[in-house]
Subunit: 492 residues, 2 copies
């Protein structure tokens, strides 16, 4: 063992020489709100999965040879190949000497040169909102998408969409009486951020019986309830396409939501990061911005987007943006200030967002390959979504709505009474945690319990992605079926 290995392997003993008492300790030494935060997609299941992965790497004998991560929408971690055009452009701006080689297509070179001319390169802080010319091109792409103008000054680039969501919530929540409506089930970024801000999560249920649709009467019920309880409801989060549910909103439904916001004086926070992941012809993606403008509505809107989803799935680059619509100048300035304390989002992520919004056009040298790669990934996602859903529906006690969009399925599972009792005994929040934990230990499949997203009382679910390669999904289903039968048997 080398000197350095010795240094990093063993902790030094630390004899207490003074009366020093640790300042940061549970329960009273931490910020309470932060302690209460829950974030299931990176929670105990995932930590256990990482532990099992390391055991396998170290040669341990487990009932499976690999952990399959279906817990998170992280396509490249389960084998999806990056889009060549994006990577060539990023490499070219990172290492501009590549521009002088003949290794890159001419449109890649011109996109890279344009970025380098309009910025100080990927190594310099940009303006806090992001490089101006990138925001301008993104605004143009939004305008093309919606047929309505977009203002580059109200587009804010961020490290993934998460950072922008957190900044908006931070501005919105003024005190512990303030609340924000979120779907149930929802993506835990919203619940966790609201908890950290000591704000209130005002849940509205999506209708599982009707393909997880969003019922406007349920919105009203939830809002009225919250108000009776003294909550100042400030905003509503709508995730379209849905996470974890995969539902896509109809235009009618979106109009109703906007009128609801107008009537009830709410900010609309539209999580639209899965806008390119739509697998049904009947419901194309329509942005809330477009419907808002069509209705000529004054509702304040924040629309979020990200390079992590779509078919690029460039999660690790951490690119994203929020567009503010109908907001007052002062909120725009305040958001600028919040973003400026982090200086700016990373420049590679900014550039990737730019490329995602304005991909190669027909006739450009990179177009054919770009189209082949993106179509391939898209069609693959679409067929895997259907395939996994169909299989899940063949399991005893499992019902699963089809995924119209996004990257997830959220099957409902009926579990025997004995499993409920066992879960309680082990101190789990819900019996779906027991199910997912045993699934992981028996098969290496990592999914997230429905309780991490919220669900109607008395129902149990889990969320799974359909991102692994087809062969792996076949394998998942085989392992899952065997486990499921044994689980039901052992708790029957």
């Amino acid at each position: 063992m080398s000197f350095l290995q010795t240094l990093t392997t063993f902790a030094t003993p630390q004899p207490q020489t003074t009366k020093y008492v640790k300042v940061l300790h549970r329960p009273s030494g931490f910020n309470e709100a932060v302690q209460s935060m829950q974030y299931a997609v990176r929670g105990q299941l995932v930590l256990r999965a990482q532990e099992l992965s390391r055991q396998l790497d170290a040669g341990a004998e487990l009932p499976f040879s690999s952990v399959i991560y279906c817990n998170i929408g992280n396509p490249q971690s389960v084998g999806q190949t990056p889009i060549t055009f994006i990577r060539q452009c990023v490499a070219a701006v990172t290492c501009p000497s590549l521009l002088d080689t003949s290794a890159l297509p001419s449109d890649v070179i011109s996109r890279a040169r344009e970025f380098l001319e309009d910025s100080h390169g990927v190594g310099a802080y940009s303006e806090s909102k992001g490089v101006y010319s990138i925001r301008k091109r993104i605004a143009e792409a939004i305008a093309r998408r919606d047929g309505y103008p977009s203002n580059p000054d109200t587009v804010y680039l961020s490290n993934g969409a998460s950072e922008a969501v957190k900044a908006l919530l931070q501005i919105t929540i003024r005190n512990s009486q303030d609340g924000v409506m979120t779907p149930i089930p929802q993506y835990p970024l919203y619940s966790a951020s609201l908890t950290a801000l000591s704000g209130r999560q005002v849940g509205y249920y999506l209708d599982e019986q009707n393909d997880w649709s969003l019922n406007i009467h349920e919105l009203q019920r939830s809002l009225d309830n919250a108000r009776v309880e003294g909550t100042q409801v400030r905003a509503i989060v709508v995730i379209n396409p849905g996470n974890p549910t995969g539902q896509v909103l109809s235009r009618e439904n979106m109009e109703d939501i906007i009128r609801f916001c107008e009537r009830e004086n709410l900010v609309l926070m539209a999580d639209e990061v899965y806008q390119k992941n739509i697998y049904t012809k009947e419901k194309p993606f329509i942005s809330f911005k477009k419907v808002l403008r069509d209705l000529n509505s004054p509702v304040e809107l924040a629309s979020f987007h990200s390079v992590s989803k779509g078919v690029m799935g460039e999660c690790g680059l951490r690119g994203g943006y929020v567009e503010l619509v109908n907001t007052e100048r002062d909120v725009e300035e305040l958001l600028y200030k919040v973003m400026s304390v982090s200086l700016c989002s990373n420049l590679v992520g900014q550039f990737a967002m730019d490329l995602m919004m304005t991909p190669p056009k027909e006739g450009e040298p990179s177009y054919e390959l770009y189209k082949t790669e993106t179509d391939g990934i898209f069609n693959d996602l679409k067929s895997k979504a259907a395939m996994l859903c169909d299989s899940l529906n063949t399991l005893a006690g499992v019902t699963c709505n089809k995924s119209e969009g996004a990257m997830y399925l959220f099957p409902r599972i009926a579990l025997p009474e004995k499993a409920m009792i066992e879960a309680k005994k082990r101190g789990y929040a819900c019996a779906d945690v027991l199910y997912c934990m045993e699934l992981l230990d028996a098969t290496g499949i990592c999914v997230v319990p429905g309780s991490g997203f919220g669900q109607k009382e008395g129902t149990l679910h889990f969320r799974t992605t359909f991102l692994p390669p087809k062969e792996a999904i076949d394998d998942v289903m085989k392992r899952l079926r065997k486990f499921h039968e044994q689980f039901l048997l052992s708790y029957s």
Copy 2:
């Protein structure tokens, strides 16, 4: 004008169709703490500078032909060239097809392959703390630096150091009685974050008469004062090398600070992002971790580092880390949870941090060029620091301590009474704002008023970087001298 230009140039009129009243508006519609935040390095001066830059781009006639940004430590925005080794490695992992060309040195290729084998590439979310093998190599580098072990599990990679600082403060501040000691002057990340968290900033003055040194009696005075006022002082921030002051702490001084923390039960937050920017032989950089271990002290320590500084200056990549030392397991888990809500920091930044901590070694193919480039930048910084300081000291009423480290000078300026009156009339917080604003308008030089960092009452300063190329610094001094004389004259 094209259709798209029309779309993006003009805002649509929005006739109010309902009783909708904007939810997010000043003063009562925002989170109050966030509104109160101040962040001078990206504040009104900088917005004005950006405005002037755009005017110049549009062909406006101004008294100068370019804006010189001396407001922020952003080397590549003022012409510093990226280090080839870093950029080659990043390009190779971004676009792995480059690995098969002969364009890259063999050590670049092996570093890139190692990264790709140990991770899912730059396009996948990593573990929330960062890629394990990167944290392991960083821990090894820390161990080499200090001669003490470092645990990869308590190294957290972040988007720049800022994100980690904010996360630590978020955990530490429990309520509006809690406070954190910060130097005065300080880097406004600390004051802004504390304000946003409704915590208290407990300032301790650095001693300008003695080269901005940190006096332990002043620490005690500040702490005792705060306690009398009912503040629960939880931690102390020490910036070494100093920002904006450039002072480097002596080992003795550091020992005193650690003993102070021990006696008074404080967490030590050590901002060590300028550890490679030391321009004095008498005071080499020593990490707080090393002194802590030498003293066998139980004090909880968080040490921050970043790829944005040093000689790389890769600000736009947003890489950074915090190492926790002597902390309880539960605070480590809590920090993990906070970081996990953002999923992970950007992978390019993670890899850049890795490369910065373990650069090419003697004998490796990239070593010679790496050494030439980094030595060149370092020597240039060192001589520009001395040159600008000497020049500043020749101006009437200006005294400037020399910069022992970091990237800044913080000259004190004596301004005439009439300037004070004029500043008050214009509603500026301090007369140094007037000075900096007029400097910008007259010369295009953008610096930050001392009041943005905090300063002893009755004193005025500004912070300037010494990052622009030598010729530009000559030019800065010429423009500044002329302006300074005229300013004194016009307010005399």
